[in-house]
């Protein structure tokens, strides 16, 4: 099951995501922008895949976390939380990831009790020029009652 501290954290206006070790590795934080959960990944040399460009895997990893956290943020506080796990993740890469800050946000296409379909987008500077987008299907594993 999901760490119960997460949904409460995600209700804050901003914060770091160090509860998730891989998010800490990417130095991720989040901000609520007009109610939307946005992840922020500052540029770091450790994110480089080929000279001057972000590794596609770091962008894919960020998109998946944007989806995961958007799903977790929809879960009611105080209730038993499901474990949220991605089953299929499809990433389209549209533009090179430059050596600058990257943002990502996700929208839920369908929120079911067992399956959640999510679309996540990553951009740098201008949101209407996404660098990558992902379609993710999450399965929710509910704790035994």
């Amino acid at each position: 099951m999901t760490n119960p501290a997460l949904p409460a954290l995600l209700q804050q206006p901003a914060g770091r995501l160090d509860l998730l070790p891989y998010a800490a590795l990417l130095d991720l934080s989040f901000e609520r922008v007009d109610g939307e959960l946005q992840l922020v990944m500052p540029f770091a040399e450790t994110l480089i895949g080929s000279p001057g460009r972000l590794h596609g895997g770091s962008i894919g990893g960020m998109l998946e976390l944007a989806g995961l956290l958007t799903v977790i943020a929809t879960q009611p506080e105080g209730e038993a939380l499901p474990r949220v796990r991605p089953v299929t993740v499809t990433v389209d890469f549209m533009r090179e990831g430059a050596a600058t800050e990257t943002r990502a946000a996700a929208s839920i296409t369908k929120l079911g009790r067992r399956v959640v379909n999510v679309h996540a987008t990553a951009w740098q500077g201008s949101r209407d020029k996404p660098i990558a987008a992902a379609h993710i299907n999450f399965v929710l594993d509910w704790p035994e009652k």
Partner: protein, 151 residues
């Protein structure tokens, strides 16, 4: 193996682990053929998304597989040419065992003038019992077509 594949084994293989983000995740080169490559990522606590339950994040697996199939497409191309991932789909068949070393095998099964079609799998010890499958495409600049490569 071709001369190019030998060249990759000697020079590019060891270089993979020095690419900054690969180094951060601990990727290492294991072996390659003329159209495939095998890489490994040993367990590390920072690869997890849920440390309380030992659950891996998806991102490191994507990075590992993207690197493996990207190298496989370059091997099949037969030249060091700039290329970019067009898309990559990952199916998580099951969770990796806690603290396992993940092995990735990526191959390029079709090369056209501009597009490399790739697939791969990741396992935690037994290739017959994979943890993830991937399929994807890479884009090459057709103008920089390697000499000697056939359609």
């Amino acid at each position: 193996m071709s001369d190019f594949a030998d060249q990759v084994s000697q020079f590019m293989g060891p270089f993979v682990g020095r690419v900054p983000h690969n180094k951060q995740l601990g990727l290492r080169f294991i072996a390659n053929g003329s159209n495939w490559v095998e890489l490994q990522m040993p367990f590390a606590p920072h690869l997890l998304v849920d440390p309380d339950h030992g659950i891996w994040a998806s991102g490191p697996i994507i990075t590992l597989m993207d690197t493996a199939v990207g190298m496989a497409s370059m091997l099949t191309r037969g030249a060091f040419e700039p290329h970019a991932t067009l898309d990559l789909r990952t199916d998580y068949v099951r969770s990796p065992k806690p603290e396992a070393t993940v092995t990735a095998r990526g191959e390029c099964y079709r090369m056209t003038r501009q597009i490399a079609f790739v697939r791969g799998l990741a396992h935690d010890g037994d290739p017959a019992d994979p943890i993830a499958h991937v399929a994807g495409t890479f884009m090459f600049a057709a103008s920089k077509l390697a000499s000697g490569w056939r359609a």
